[in-house]
């Protein structure tokens, strides 16, 4: 349903994305992951026709977005990262305007507005002005306008960013109800990506690092594991020592939690020998090894392994 073929975008001499190819099948929910500046928003803007590619092409269905932007946009519902609404409009009137711009006839428009208001839980604020809504409701209105016209593809740029935990959970639940729609959502939140998406696309510095189903990407980490360790020793020296151990792919240092020692999460290609080396290192350095647990790898581990930094 969505296809990106060697998608490249330069802003002046700055390369925002280069040679990015991936596809998302009809009905799939895909996550676009990457650290800040990875090119996620640029890919989304290319897919919505907001900007045209310098090279390559983006297709929605069989429609080349750059060649026939208006036709392509009829199939796309877009929620930008910053949801900006006309403050003087009530929610219902705003959705009416968007429905009309999307070409919905009066009767169909009225039915569609009623549907998205119900779907997005906007009933109690439908006659309030956009300017008076909370961030959570504004985000819902943003999603509602994207859903108007039953687009085949939904492009959601950071749909939960800036929301409080309760609002974020509600938004995730809302996205989960969009069965049958092809969804591409960008996020920093790997838990969110694991929970919502069947396909994961990872970008770093404007290039594609991985694009596959979550299950297939998980298989790439077969044999790998996470060691949760607690060591009583000088934190910086421990971190340095852990990073230098053969077989360690990455480490994450925990915040002080009032307990003895410092907690580290160590991603290892093969946890068992790393566990032995770690114990030997602690003994040799005179540190106390308080805790060691082996856990299966997560999407976060894969991200760290592929991108080499935090999302």
């Amino acid at each position: 349903m969505i296809r990106s073929e060697l998608l490249t975008k330069y802003y002046g001499s700055v390369r925002a994305v280069g040679g990015v190819s991936f596809s998302v099948g009809a009905g799939e929910v895909a996550a676009l992951l990457g650290p800040n500046g990875a090119g996620k928003s640029t890919v989304m803007r290319l897919l919505t026709g907001y900007v045209s590619p310098t090279a390559g092409r983006a297709l929605v269905g069989d429609v080349d977005v750059a060649e026939r932007p208006v036709t392509a946009r009829r199939q796309i519902g877009y929620l930008p990262e910053q949801v900006s609404l006309y403050p003087e409009f009530t929610v219902r009137r705003y959705l009416g305007f968007v429905g009309e711009v999307k070409g919905l006839a009066r009767r169909r428009r009225r039915a569609a507005i009623g549907r998205v208001i119900e779907q997005c839980g906007l009933g109690e604020v439908a006659d309030r002005h956009n300017g008076t809504l909370s961030k959570g409701y504004r985000q819902r209105v943003g999603l509602a306008q994207a859903l108007l016209g039953d687009p085949a593809v939904l492009v959601l740029d950071e749909p939960t960013v800036g929301l409080d935990p309760v609002q974020a959970v509600e938004m995730r639940e809302l996205i989960r109800t969009l069965a049958g729609c092809t969804v591409l959502l960008s996020t920093h939140n790997l838990t969110e990506a694991s929970a919502l998406c069947s396909r994961v696309i990872i970008l770093s510095h404007g290039s594609l690092v991985a694009a596959d189903t979550a299950a297939e990407l998980g298989r790439r980490l077969e044999g790998a594991g996470r060691l949760v360790v607690r060591i009583d020793g000088p934190p910086d020296a421990v971190a340095q020592g852990l990073s230098a151990l053969p077989g360690v792919l990455g480490i994450e240092r925990g915040e002080p939690d009032g307990q003895a020692g410092v907690r580290f999460v160590v991603l290892a290609s093969n946890p068992e020998p790393v566990q032995r080396r770690l114990a030997a290192m602690a003994v040799a350095a005179g540190w106390t090894l308080l805790e060691v647990q082996v856990k299966p790898p997560t999407l976060e581990d894969l991200f760290v392994r592929l991108v080499g930094s935090e999302p």
């Binding site: 640029t42 900007v51 009829r74 930008p80 900006s84 609404l85 006309y86 009309e100 999307k102």
Partner: protein, 248 residues
């Protein structure tokens, strides 16, 4: 077409639903009324019995043109600057609308508003006709001229509004050059002798003169349409700049 109409109606609603429009309309009609009154007194005192078109209506339409110089920037300053400030432009540009339709809807709505303001001045010819009947036809030319003149000012204002997210700056940068051109149109001593012919050739005000006496010269019509088209084209290029600027 439905998308264009939707945006056009939204723009009209934004104008007629906002208090600043009524402030502009009140000020416009107050100044227009003042000029009507003072020009009529002048005509009655010094020109009664002479040609009413040249000795009264021409003076009034030239004065109305000046009022438009102040009114149009106040109407155009929000058109794209406000969309930029709110951040709604990005979403608008991802709807099934061409950039041209967005520009046309905004400019079209602004011209409808200007036409509405000008319609408020139609009461003056009706009042004068009631006292002393005269030929109406030349006035159509004058109103056409005012609309064409407003078209250039509005398209220029729209272009300036596309460059910034500050409405105040957009209004200021629209009004200032128009005012400067107006000053040069009646105070030619202010321009260097070498640049005067150029100023005359491009001046909106000189091209309006024939309309104000009831003459429609196709060269002037073409000039106004060309100038409007030029600023529409420039606005479209600014919207296109997102392709290389990477931001709204």
């Amino acid at each position: 077409m439905r998308s264009f109409v939707a945006l056009f109606r939204k723009e009209l609603r934004s104008y007629f639903g906002s208090p600043p429009f009524y402030f502009v309309a009140t000020a416009f009609l107050a100044y227009a009324g003042y000029y009507f009154h003072s020009d009529l007194i002048y005509f009655i005192t010094f020109g009664f019995g002479l040609n009413i078109m040249e000795n009264f209506w021409q003076i009034l339409f030239v004065d109305l043109r000046l009022v438009l110089i102040f009114a149009v920037p106040l109407l155009t300053m929000r058109l794209l600057a406000e969309e930029r400030r709110l951040g709604t432009l990005e979403l608008l540009l991802t709807y099934p609308l061409r950039d041209g339709a967005i520009v046309a809807a905004k400019l079209g709505a602004c011209l409808v508003v200007v036409a509405t303001l000008l319609a408020g001045t139609l009461v003056y010819p009706l009042l004068v006709y009631h006292v002393e009947p005269f030929a109406f036809e030349p006035l159509f030319a004058a109103y056409l001229g005012l609309l064409l003149f407003a078209g250039v000012c509005a398209s220029y204002g729209l272009f300036i509004s596309s460059l910034t997210d500050s409405q105040v700056l957009a209004g200021f940068l629209t009004a200032l050059p128009l005012l400067l051109l107006w000053l040069l149109s009646w105070n030619e001593a202010a321009a260097a002798s070498g640049t005067l012919p150029v100023v005359r050739a491009i001046s909106l005000f000189n091209h309006f003169q024939p309309f104000s006496v009831g003459v429609i010269d196709l060269r002037d019509v073409f000039y106004f349409l060309y100038a409007t088209g030029l600023f529409v084209w420039a606005t479209l290029r600014v919207l296109e700049a997102r392709q290389w600027r990477g931001r709204r």
